[in-house]
Structures are given as C-alpha cells and as structure tokens.
C-alpha cells in the first residue's frame, strides 16, 4: 500500500516537472508562494527560534555543572545544536504544520470542487501549475528561514543565558566564536533544501488525490502533516548520516 502511494507520488512529481505552459504565469505564482511560505512565516519562526535558543542555553548550563568544563562551552554547544539540528528540523516541522496543512487543504478543496478538472479540461498541466511554484518556493524560502532561525536561536541563547546569569556575555560570545566549523552550515542548508521539498510536495500529493468532500479534505490535511513530519525526521537522519 505504501509502495503504491510512493509510486503515485513519484508519478505526480514527474508530471509536476513537465515544461510549463507559460513561464511568466508560473513566475508570478512562484513569487506569490515565496511570499506565503517565506515572508508569511518569518514572525512564527523568529519567535520559536529565539525561545528555543534561550531554553537550550539554560538547559546546557543546568547540565554542565562541573568546574572542569569552561562556561564558554555553553555557547559552542548551543551554536552547533542550533545550526546542525534545531534550526533546520524545528523550522521544518513547524512549517510542515503551518504550510503543509494549507497546501493540502487548498489543493484538496480544488480537487473536490472540480477546479482541478477544470484546469485539465482547459489543457493545463494541473500538477505543474498547482504544485511546481510551491515546491520551488519551498526549496528557496525554507533555507532562508533556516539561516534566519540559526541567527535568532544563537541570539536567543545569548539573551536567555545573560538575563538569567547562567553565562556571562563574554563567555557566551567566546563560546560561539571558538572552533567554528563552516561545514555545519552546509549540512544545515542541505537539510533545509530537502525539508523544503518535503514540506511542499508531500502535502500537495495528499491534497491532489483527495476523493470525497470536506471530511476527506480535512483528513488529507492531517495526513499531510503527519507524513511530512515523519519524512522530515527520516531524511534528517539520512542526511546527517551521509554528510557528517
């Protein structure tokens, strides 16, 4: 059953990447989706990232109580955790809930109200017209959101650590600037790219093949978020294993 779904998903992707009927219209749709996925998520990602960074610093400080471990390590651990894992994965999971359910219900509603059939009858490649702009917007905007999340998470750590007195500003800054490996950024961006693809394509698939009415659209939306989250975590493991 799952292999059947995976096969259908691959066939849908094949249709998505057919040559667009008119690049100008697709370009307009891509910018619209970039606004929705990227700009529309800045506030949410900013709040979540800042608080996660702050909480991470407090927890690291709580666990590192030995006199043999310098407090600068708090900054280093927070930096690497944020860049490698927390920013890409938490951002992706939050976006899977926010963007994924919206994509799935939008396309699902279009399916049950025959709007997708109307597109096809006009001679338009409906998977391409509806899904391609979302995927392209996803794979460009999610990495940008992840970069923003990294800065805010590290900044949140600074605020959380210094305001609570868990670490001094100088120790924290020394920690985040010591032994920095730029390759971690590459790993995070590869993850963000993969997650951006999953967040947009999986819900689009769930919505595109909806049959029935409002209840089925809602179920597809829930399924889209669940499958996206599991796929994100599985791909997170695979990418980490391959690149580190």
């Amino acid at each position: 059953m799952n292999f059947t779904n995976f096969g259908k998903y691959l066939l849908l992707l094949k249709a998505v990447f057919r040559r667009p009927e008119k690049f100008k219209i697709y370009l307009k749709a891509i910018f619209k989706q970039m606004d929705f996925i990227g700009v529309g998520s800045i506030g949410l990602i900013a709040i979540i990232s800042t608080f996660i960074g702050a909480v991470m610093t407090l927890q690291i400080a709580f666990q590192l109580v030995s006199d043999f471990i310098p407090k600068t390590i708090i900054g280093s651990v927070n930096r690497d955790s944020s860049i490698l894992e927390l920013s890409p994965t938490i951002t992706a999971i939050v976006l899977a809930g926010k963007i994924g359910s919206a994509i799935s219900s939008e396309i699902g509603t279009m399916r049950v109200s025959e709007q997708i059939d109307a597109l096809e009858i006009m001679g338009i490649n409906s998977p391409g017209y509806l899904i391609l702009p979302k995927i392209l917007a996803g794979i460009t905007m999610v990495p940008l959101l992840v970069i923003m999340s990294m800065f805010l998470s590290i900044g949140g750590g600074y605020l959380g650590g210094t305001l609570s007195g868990a670490v001094s500003p100088a120790e924290y800054i020394q920690g985040i600037t010591t032994d920095f490996n730029p390759y971690t950024i590459v790993v995070a961006l590869v993850k963000a790219f993969v997650f951006g693809f999953i967040i947009t394509s999986v819900p689009a698939y769930e919505g595109f093949y909806v049959k029935g009415g409002a209840l089925e659209v809602a179920q597809a939306s829930t399924r889209a978020v669940v499958v996206s989250c599991i796929s994100i975590l599985a791909c997170d493991y695979i990418v980490t294993q391959l690149l580190l």
């Binding site: 057919r18 008119k22 025959e114 109307a118 096809e120 009858i121 006009m122 001679g123």
Partner: protein
C-alpha cells in the same frame, strides 16, 4: 462532430458503461439523459479524458482522442469549453480573472484585448459589470453563467455541459438552456449537455441519447421522445405528475 464508438468503463467490479456509441453533430444541442447512476457523467468524463475507457474510441472530427499522448490531448483540450455541475470557478480569482485565465495561459493578446474578450463574454451571458466580484459573491445561476463565459472565452469548437440546471430555479434554468442553445447555433459548436431535467430535454434537445443502466436505450430528438414505446424511457420521461398529466399533449 464528436463520435463515440463502443465505450466501456468499469470501476472495480462495477461496470458503468456497456458499449455506448453515438454521433454528436455540430450546431445542434446534443443531450445525454438518464436517471441517476445511469452513467451520463462517466460517459462525459470518458469523452473529455478525465476517465480512461477500457474499450472504445472517441473521435473529435476524425481525430482519435483516447490513444493520443499528453501533448496531443492538450491541443484538443484547447478547443474544448466545459461548464461543470458546480461551475468549478477558481474561488480565489474574481469573475474577470476566471474568464481571463485561459486567455492568459494560451494567447499572446495584450491586456486590453483580453479585457475586451472578457467583457464580450460577460455581456453574452448577461453579466456586464460583474468583473470584480468573487465566486462566493454570486448566486448559483450567476456562477453557471460565469462558467459558460469562461467556457466560451477561447471560442471552443466543442462545448460540454454537465447538469446545467442542478440547483437552479425553473426560470433561471430556462435562461441557461436558452443561452446554451443560442451559443451552439451562433458559433456552430458541438455541444453536449448531460442532464436529467425534462424541461431541458423538451426545450433544447435536438439530439438525445438516453442511457439506462450503462447502456444506450434510445436516441432521437425532443419531438420523438414522447412517442416511443420503450418502457424504460417512458418511465424516465413521464416520471413526474406534471409530465404524466401533459403526456397526451406532446
């Protein structure tokens, strides 16, 4: 002209269409009628490629549609206009954007030319000045008329209409029927209407194909339909008390 030959279609074990054939001429209103579950909409969807028949052929002026590849089908579909049962208007677009959509996709016209075409289509369906309304702001009859305007925007050679009168009051139904007939005759389109509305059958049925349990039971015109001795057809046509009372007057 559209010709269908020996169309078979099943969903699992349920055989919906059992060898339907028919010829739909241009410039006349062709109706596919039958009770609920008789296979009307399935036949229509087979004709336009939304369903794939297991057997049989669909020819658009001699061009075999069912065996075409994706790109060839797209070329045929550019010649098709369709009004869906629920209108299927794009709900995030205004009336103007809905009608302009196929023009944006497939023509290189300037915005002014496209706007002129939109206004012409709206005028044709008596909805002048409704350009900026969204589908949610329209009544059922207005939605159908916008659907027709969108369907004729590209000057289609073939016009498909699925249940045009469902959910409409009798007066609006007649307006829609008359509009379909006028457009068919004016532009010489091959129009196929799927309906179970007897007012449409008697009003605009130049050619009627009657389906019953997935089979073609009868074909003819609205002038002949009341004078057959086919039990299944008579049960369908004269099902209502009004039609029963009026039976002798046809």
């Amino acid at each position: 002209m559209i010709e269908i030959k020996d169309i078979y279609k099943s969903f699992g074990d349920n055989e919906v269409l059992k060898g339907i054939s028919g010829k739909f001429e241009a410039g006349v209103t062709n109706l596919i009628i039958g009770g609920s579950g008789s296979g009307k909409t399935t036949l229509l969807k087979c004709m336009i490629g939304l369903h794939h028949p297991e057997q049989g052929s669909v020819e658009y002026d001699g061009r075999e549609f069912t065996t075409m590849n994706f790109e060839e089908k797209i070329e045929i579909r550019k010649e098709i206009g369709m009004l869906f049962q629920g209108s299927a208007l794009f709900d995030s677009m205004t009336v103007e954007e809905n009608i302009m959509f196929p023009l944006n996709m497939f023509t290189e016209q300037s915005r002014k030319e496209k706007l002129e075409r939109v206004n012409f289509c709206l005028e044709r369906v008596n909805l002048e000045g409704k350009n900026k309304l969204f589908p949610a702001e329209l009544s059922g009859g207005m939605k159908k008329r916008v659907g027709i305007a969108r369907a004729i925007a590209m000057n289609p050679k073939y016009l498909f209409v699925d249940e045009p009168n469902s959910g409409l009051d009798p007066k609006t139904s007649i307006v829609i029927d008359e509009l379909i007939k006028e457009l068919t005759e004016e532009y010489n389109t091959t129009t196929i209407v799927v309906t179970h509305d007897m007012n449409s059958v008697m009003g605009i049925g130049d050619y009627i194909l009657f389906l019953h349990e997935g089979k073609k039971f009868w074909e003819g015109s609205n002038k002949e339909i009341a004078h057959t001795d086919i039990q299944e057809l008579n049960d369908f046509v004269f099902a209502s008390r009004f039609m029963k009372a009026a039976k002798g007057k046809f």
